[in-house]
Amino acid sequence: MEKILVGLKRVVDYNVRVQVKSDGSGVETDGVKMSINPFDEIALEEALRIRERGDANEVVVVSIGSSESQQQLRTGLAMGADRAILVETASSTDALTVARVFRTIIDRENADLVILGKQAIDDDNSQTGQMLAALWGRPQATFASELTFDGTTAKVTREVDAGLETLEIDLPAVITVDLRLNEPRYVKLPDIMKAKKKPLDTIPLADLGVDGAPEVKETAYKPPEGRQRGIMVEDVAGLVAALNDKGLL
């Protein structure tokens, strides 16, 4: 195949203990470490491997967000992507709008395959890939943990609740990746220097002519109800007694 698109979303780093703002308008992001969504790193790693074994010629990373998303795109270029596209918007975007953006980029770029993360760890939506596949009228293989290509088809193993499901899909298609697909490579310093010279195009979202989706309004953020720390027992006898007290045995 010729070209693979990979989505890179800028999100609060997974190691950050996220705090809800006191006015309930969202979560604290000031001074908080931001990173590529971990699943998207895996998506990019897979795309790079596909290219490296000669099954594709070009890997283009795409982010929809503020100009700060350039950082994540530069990291993607340093990992080995050939080009980057930032679809710039100051406001936050919902899954359907993001899917519609990807749909227009597919046409502009003539992409054969889109690889996304199975979910963004900020909104935990797990929607975008499935929506894009629907809008494109093409196959989706979500939660992929293994994939192989054979000319115009792909075999994808998916992590589902019941075990491992394998689908065969025709290309072009959308694949969303799970954690066990691969381990993303580390970026080396020379790669970061080289990445500075790679093309990063910015397109204002408004220029794409994408219709906004009916808005789901977020009215309030709250911290979750925490669990209380319970008792500590000294030994197995104590544990059995405590379980009996609660009527659990």
């Binding site: 629907a134 992590e159 989706a213």
Partner: protein, 313 residues
């Protein structure tokens, strides 16, 4: 007036417990009429199970060769064809529903509400974000259909005792052939299902090998418990992926959850927040798992777990 269509999850033989939980969520909408749609090739038994769920007004069975086993790209246009009669379409927030429902939403031109944990009004819901570190209240647009997945751990299964009518629905939709089922490899099925089990025994990286997981299996057998695990244990190959509990694994709510040699990373905790009682066994008294456990025991699992297994007689 709200009319909710719940998409049933099943394996061709029996209804997945996620369906009865999704029905519970749907009945939380004031005055809602709740129908269940069962897609498959031969689903009389499954449709009967769905008809027995309290709160269900009607079961639609959509039998077609292509619907077995379920493939999102094939079910989605059929659901769209049925959706015209409904104000809401709900699916479970299992891998089945997560795969399917956004495809339906996009075809209908709306966003999906993922992981409903509470119904606040016909178009108002609460859902977790940031691995459950925040709960957000959302209002879906009042003038469009609501497509949502239900966080099953937040709901009790609807009781049985009903006898709703079952209707065969014929659905006019063009079905794609670009996606083909090859196989499903399931783990050993002689143990209780992780989603449905009242007790779960879970092991982490500390088990250090596939062989050592035998300790977990023995304890689970004594308790009639399902097996869970941390991501670290799955990544290391000690246990199969479908046992993983957490943000990216399964979200569960058993009466009893026993975490053994699991540190309690936020991504793991988010999967067990709704458990009745959490027991933690860890050799590090500072392990974060103790902050959320009801009963904690500091000790080496390699001595504590066999002792516990013996003590249970």
């Amino acid at each position: 007036m709200s009319k909710v269509l719940v998409i049933a999850e099943h394996n061709g033989e029996s209804l997945n417990p996620s369906t009865a939980k999704s029905v519970s969520c749907a009945t939380q909408i004031d005055g809602a009429t709740v129908d269940v749609a069962v897609f498959g090739s031969s689903v009389a038994g499954v449709a009967q199970e769905a008809a027995e769920l309290n709160g269900v007004a009607r079961v639609l069975s959509v039998e077609r060769e292509e619907n077995d086993p379920a493939i999102a790209a094939i079910l989605a246009p059929q659901i769209v064809a049925l959706a015209g009669d409904y104000s809401h379409v709900f699916g479970p927030s299992t891998t089945f529903g997560k795969d399917l429902m956004p495809r339906v939403a996009a075809l209908l031109g709306v966003n999906q509400i993922s992981d409903i944990m509470s119904v606040e009004g016909s178009h108002s819901f609460k859902r977790p974000v940031y691995a459950g570190n925040a709960i957000v209240s959302v209002d879906a647009p009042a003038d469009s259909i609501v497509i949502a997945t239900v966080r099953t751990a937040s709901y009790q299964a609807a009781d049985r005792g009903n006898n709703a009518p079952i209707e065969a629905a014929s659905v006019d939709a063009e079905l794609p052939t670009h996606t083909r089922f090859v196989e499903l490899r399931t783990g050993s099925s002689d143990r209780p299902d992780l989603q449905a089990a009242a007790r779960v025994v879970s092991g982490g990286r500390a088990l250090a090998s596939e062989e050592n997981f035998e300790l977990i299996y023995k304890l689970a057998d004594k308790l009639g418990a399902a097996i869970g695990s941390s991501r670290a244990a799955v990544d290391a190959g000690y246990v199969p992926p479908e046992t993983q509990v957490g943000q990216t694994g399964q979200i569960i709510a058993p009466d009893l959850y026993i975490a053994i040699g699991i540190s309690g990373a936020i991504q793991h905790i988010t999967g067990i927040k709704d458990a009745g009682t959490i027991v933690a066994i860890n050799k590090d008294e500072e392990a974060p798992i103790f902050e959320v456990s009801d009963i904690g025991l500091v000790g080496d699992l390699f001595t504590v777990v066999p002792e516990l297994t013996d003590a249970l007689g």
